[in-house]
C-alpha cells in the first residue's frame, strides 16, 4: 500500500522598510508594515483561507482519510495573528480534526542550524511553544528552514527529542536511490527521514499551469497514475511544497483547487492512502541511512545553501549576525529579542543572492528590492543600528565570557534579594497577624513594633 505524504510550508518574513543610513541611531523601527500587511492579506485571501477551507472539507468528505502536514514559521504566525487572525482560527479548526500535523521548525525561519551555540535549540523550543499554545499539539517531527539538512543538523535535532525530520531528495545525495522510502540519519539512526520527491512535487508547484509542458494539462487522474506507477516496494511519496502553490503561485483560475479536491477519490481507486509524517515514522522502519556531510536544501537547481550563503555579501551578513547573537540572548530584552528573530529570517539573505543574474528570475521575483546590492545596503544599515542598540546594553570592551559571569552574579544576587524580600514580607505578615490576634493594649506600643 502506498501513502502520499503532503507537507506544506507556510512562511512570510517581516519585510524591512527602506532604512537609510541617517536613520541609524535615531529610528529603531525596521519593518515595512504596509507591504507586510498587504502581502499577507493577499496571500491569505488567495491561498490560506480557500485552501484551508477546501482541505477541511476534504477531510470531512473522506472521513479523515485525507491527511496533511503543515510547518508554519513563528514569524508567519505572528503576522497572521496581527493582520488576518481568521487564518489562525481556520488552522485551529484543521487541528481539531486530528488529520493535520504541525511540524516544528525554527521560530524565525532562520539559518540558525548552521551556527554553533544554542540559538538553534532555543528557537525550536520557542516555536514548539507557540504551536502548542495556538493549536494544542506538541510537534514531534522537525522540518528545518527550507528543508536544510546535514548529518550534523540531524544529530542536533534528535537530541532535542524529535523522532523524524523532513528534507530534500537531492540527487547529489541520493544518487541512484529513490526518495520514496523512509531513511535515517547517518550520525544517529534514531532520527528517521522523509525525503521530498522533487519531480512529483515540482509538477504541481512549477509546472501545473505551464502550457509549454508536454504533460499539460495535469489532471488528478493522471497524477495519481504516476504515483501508482512507482515500483511496488516504494511506499511513501513525499510531496513537499510551499502552501502558496495553491491559489498564489498557481492561481485559482488554473484549476489547482479542483485538482487538489479530486486527488482523494482517484487515490482511493488506486488504493493509495494519505498519511502524516509522524504516522509514517511510527509505521515504517528506515530502509537505509543516508550520508549528508554538507548541508542540502530544496532551493534552486543546486539544492544547497548557495541561495542564502552564495556570495560574500551574504556570508558577511550572516557572520555579523552570528557575532552579535550571544549578547542579544544575554540581554533578555524583549524588544531586542523580537528584532533579533525578525532579522534572522532567511529571506533577507535570499534577497541578496546574485545568482539570478545568470539563472532564472525566481530570486528577483520574490524580492522587494530592485537589486541584491540594495537588499544588502538596507539590511546592513538596519543591522548596524541593531548592533549599536545591543552594544549600548553592555560595555563593548567587556568580553562575552566575563559579561556572562557578571550577569550570572547579578542575576543570582537579584534572586537572593527577591527571596529575602519575600521572606521579609512573609515574616511581616505573620508578625502583623500575631499582633492583631494579640489583645491590643495601647496604639503606641503597636506602632513601635511595626
Amino acid at each position: 500500500m502506498k501513502s502520499v505524504c503532503f507537507y506544506f510550508q507556510v512562511h512570510q518574513p517581516f519585510r524591512l522598510r527602506r532604512y537609510r543610513f541617517f536613520d541609524i541611531g535615531s529610528d529603531h523601527y525596521y519593518y515595512d508594515d504596509y507591504n507586510n500587511e498587504e502581502i499577507i492579506r493577499r496571500v491569505a485571501e488567495h491561498c490560506y483561507l480557500p485552501a484551508n477551507r477546501l482541505i477541511l472539507q476534504m477531510i470531512k468528505d473522506t472521513n479523515g482519510a485525507f491527511k496533511v502536514a503543515y510547518s508554519i514559521s513563528g514569524v508567519a504566525l505572528e503576522q497572521l495573528e496581527l493582520y488576518v487572525p481568521e487564518v489562525v482560527d481556520s488552522f485551529r479548526e484543521l487541528a481539531k480534526t486530528g488529520c493535520v500535523e504541525f511540524l516544528a521548525e525554527t521560530y524565525a525561519h532562520s539559518l540558525a542550524s548552521l551556527w554553533e551555540g544554542d540559538e538553534f535549540e532555543l528557537q525550536v523550543k520557542e516555536h514548539s511553544k507557540k504551536i502548542q499554545s495556538l493549536f494544542g499539539v506538541k510537534p514531534t517531527v522537525f522540518r528545518n528552514t527550507e528543508l536544510i539538512y546535514s548529518d550534523e543538523i540531524g544529530e542536533r535535532v534528535v537530541n532535542m527529542g524529535f523522532k523524524g525530520m523532513l528534507s530534500e531528495g537531492a540527487k547529489h545525495v541520493l544518487g541512484w536511490k529513490s526518495p520514496n522510502y523512509v531513511y535515517c540519519c547517518a550520525n544517529n539512526p534514531r532520527l528517521k527521514l522523509l525525503l521530498k520527491n522533487f519531480k512529483l512535487s515540482d509538477d504541481i508547484t512549477f509546472r501545473f499551469s505551464d502550457w509549454g509542458w508536454d504533460q499539460f494539462p495535469l489532471t488528478a487522474d493522471k497524477y495519481m497514475d504516476w504515483v501508482a506507477a512507482t515500483p511496488k516496494e516504494e511506499n511513501v511519496v513525499n510531496l513537499f511544497m510551499n502552501y502558496e502553490t495553491f491559489g498564489e503561485m498557481q492561481g485559482a483560475n488554473t484549476g489547482i483547487f479542483d485538482f487538489l479536491k479530486a486527488l482523494p477519490s482517484f487515490a482511493a481507486q488506486r488504493n493509495i492512502t494519505f498519511a502524516t509524517p509522524s504516522e509514517i515514522f511510527d509505521r515504517q522502519k528506515p530502509i537505509d541511512s543516508i550520508n549528508v556531510p554538507y548541508p542540502i536544501s530544496w532551493a534552486d537547481e543546486e539544492r544547497d545553501l548557495s541561495a542564502w550563503l552564495g556570495n560574500e555579501l551574504q556570508k558577511e551578513t550572516f557572520n555579523k549576525l552570528n557575532g552579535i547573537g550571544e549578547r542579544v540572548r544575554m540581554s533578555k530584552d524583549r524588544r531586542l529579542m523580537q528584532d533579533w528573530y525578525y532579522l534572522q529570517t532567511s529571506d533577507h539573505l535570499y534577497y541578496m543572492s546574485t545568482k539570478h543574474f545568470s539563472d532564472g528570475a525566481v530570486h528577483s521575483h520574490y524580492s522587494p528590492y530592485d537589486s541584491p546590492y540594495e537588499a544588502f545596503m538596507n539590511y546592513m544599515n538596519i543591522l548596524s543600528d541593531f548592533i549599536d542598540r545591543v552594544n549600548s546594553k553592555f560595555p563593548e570592551n567587556v568580553d562575552n565570557e566575563e559579561l556572562n559571569s557578571l550577569t550570572l552574579t547579578i542575576n543570582a544576587q537579584e534572586e537572593l534579594i527577591n527571596k529575602l524580600t519575600k521572606e521579609n514580607q512573609k515574616l511581616m505578615k505573620e508578625l502583623k497577624s500575631s499582633v492583631a490576634a494579640a489583645p491590643v493594649k495601647t496604639g503606641k506600643k503597636r506602632k513601635e513594633m511595626v
Partner: protein
C-alpha cells in the same frame, strides 16, 4: 561587405564618448573577416590607428575642381591622401560646390571640433560626402551621430545604397528636454531617411520612437561596450595622499550629468561620517555654480575640484577612488562607469543611464533620489564586503562586455537591411 562610415571623432583626439565608441565599434567589426570599413573624418590628425580600417580625410578631398601644382598639392595633402586618390576624387565631382569657400586644392577646412559655426561644418561635410560616395565602392552607409546624418542622406540619395544611422545621443539628452529646433530637424530627417536606426540603449530607443515618431520596427538597440584596458593603464599607480575614502564624479560638469545631485548626496553623507572626501573631476559650464553650492553646504573642506583631466590623469584619479558615481540625468549610454569598473572601482550609476540596462554589478539609483545615492555611497565606504564584492564582480562582468559582440549585432542589422 564594405561599409562607408561617417564619423566626427576618432581617438586619440577625442572630445567626448562618440570617438571612443566609434573606435571600439569599428575595431570590433574588423574582427569579422569579410568586413571592410572606410571611415570619413572631418579632420584626422594622422596619428589614428589605421590598422583595421581606412580613414578618409574630409579636409583633403576636393569638392571644387582645381588643378594645383604637384609639389604644392603634395605638401597640402600632407600624406593624408595620395595624389592618385586625390585625382580619383577630383574626377568624381559632380555637384557645384563653388559657393563653399575652399583652399588651393579645392577642399574645405574643418575644425574637427564642435565650433560655433557647427552647422556650416556639417553642411560642408555633407558636400564632401557627395564626392566620396561617388568615388568609393561600398554596400552600406553608416552615419555616427547627428552631425553626419546629412552626409549619410546625401550618400544614400546619390548611390541608392541603404543608410544605417547610429544614434549615440539625441538632443533631448543634451538639453534636458529643451531641444534646439535646428538640431532636432537634422536628427528627425536623418531618422526618417534611414533604412535602419541603431541606438546605444533602450532608453535612447524610446526617445527615438516617442520623441521623433519613428516606427519601432526600424530601431534596434546595440549596447556599447568597452575596450580592454592596456598594459600602460594597468601599470598606473594610484596616488593617494589621504587615508579618507574618496568618492569621485568624473565627467563634464554640465546639466546633463547631474552634478548638483552629487553635491547634495555628499552633504548628506558628510553629516554622518567624516572619513570621506568627494572629488568632482572635469570641467564644464556648471562648475562655478557647483563650487558655490559646495560652499553653501559648508562642505568645501571635504569637496574637491580638479578641473579637466587628460588621458593618464583620468586613470590616476579613478584608481585612487573608492567609489565612482555618475548621477546623469539622461545618459544615452555612458562608457565611463564601465571604465571605472575595469580598474576595480565600485560604481554607482543613475537608472536614467543607458549602461544601467546591461550592468548588474553596479548600484543603480534614480538621479533625483539623493537619499538613495547617499545611502549607496555610505554603504560602499562602510561595509567592506560590499565594496570588495562590487570590485571583483564588477570587473568580471565588465570584462565580458566586448565590442566584438556589439559588432556582431551591427552586422546583423546590415544583413537585414541588405536582405542577405
Amino acid at each position: 561587405m564594405k561599409a562607408l562610415m561617417f564619423g566626427w571623432e576618432f581617438p586619440p583626439h577625442i572630445l567626448g564618448g562618440l570617438g571612443t565608441a566609434s573606435y571600439g565599434l569599428t575595431k570590433g567589426m574588423s574582427l569579422q573577416n569579410d568586413m571592410d570599413i572606410t571611415f570619413m573624418l572631418p579632420k584626422p590628425w594622422g596619428d589614428e590607428d589605421q590598422s583595421f580600417l581606412k580613414i578618409v580625410s574630409a579636409n583633403k578631398v576636393p569638392i571644387v575642381w582645381k588643378d594645383p601644382e604637384w609639389n604644392y598639392l603634395n605638401s597640402e595633402l600632407n600624406g593624408r591622401l595620395s595624389t592618385d586618390e586625390y585625382y580619383h576624387y577630383r574626377d568624381c565631382i559632380r555637384e557645384d560646390n563653388s559657393k563653399i569657400g575652399t583652399n588651393g586644392i579645392g577642399s574645405v577646412e574643418f575644425s574637427g571640433r564642435y565650433p560655433n559655426n557647427l552647422f556650416e561644418e556639417i553642411h560642408n561635410y555633407d558636400a564632401v560626402a557627395g564626392v566620396v560616395c561617388r568615388a568609393l565602392d561600398f554596400d552600406i552607409i553608416h552615419s555616427h551621430d547627428w552631425l553626419t546624418y546629412p552626409a549619410g542622406i546625401h550618400a544614400k540619395h546619390v548611390t541608392g545604397k541603404p543608410l544605417v544611422i547610429h544614434v549615440h545621443a539625441t538632443d533631448f539628452d543634451r538639453s534636458r528636454g529643451n531641444v534646439n529646433p535646428a538640431v532636432y530637424e537634422i536628427e528627425k530627417r536623418g531618422m526618417d531617411e534611414a533604412d535602419h536606426i541603431i541606438t546605444v540603449s533602450n532608453l535612447t530607443r524610446d526617445t527615438v520612437i516617442y520623441r521623433y515618431n519613428i516606427d519601432p520596427a526600424k530601431v534596434t538597440t546595440v549596447h556599447n561596450a568597452v575596450e580592454p584596458i592596456s598594459k600602460e593603464i594597468e601599470a598606473i599607480q594610484p596616488k593617494r595622499g589621504t587615508k579618507d575614502k574618496v568618492v569621485t564624479f568624473l565627467g563634464r560638469i554640465t546639466m546633463q550629468k547631474g552634478p548638483e545631485y552629487f553635491v547634495e548626496a555628499a552633504y548628506r553623507v558628510l553629516q554622518r561620517t567624516n572619513n570621506v572626501r568627494f572629488v568632482m573631476a572635469g570641467s564644464g559650464d556648471m562648475m562655478d555654480k557647483m563650487i558655490r553650492h559646495a560652499a553653501y553646504r559648508n562642505i568645501s573642506d571635504k569637496f574637491h575640484f580638479t578641473g579637466f583631466l587628460k588621458g593618464k590623469e583620468v586613470y590616476e584619479m579613478l584608481k585612487s577612488s573608492d567609489v565612482y558615481i555618475m548621477p546623469s540625468v539622461s545618459e544615452p549610454f555612458g562608457i565611463s562607469p564601465l571604465e571605472a569598473m575595469q580598474v576595480g572601482v565600485p560604481t554607482i550609476i543613475s537608472k536614467q543611464s543607458g549602461c544601467a540596462e546591461i550592468l548588474n554589478n553596479a548600484i543603480k539609483v534614480d538621479y533625483w533620489d539623493i537619499d538613495a545615492m547617499a545611502d549607496a555611497i555610505y554603504s560602499i565606504i562602510t561595509y567592506p564586503a560590499m565594496s570588495d564584492f562590487l570590485k571583483t564582480e564588477g570587473k568580471d562582468e565588465v570584462d565580458e562586455i566586448k565590442w566584438e559582440y556589439a559588432a556582431l549585432k551591427v552586422r546583423k542589422v546590415y544583413d537585414m537591411v541588405l536582405h542577405r
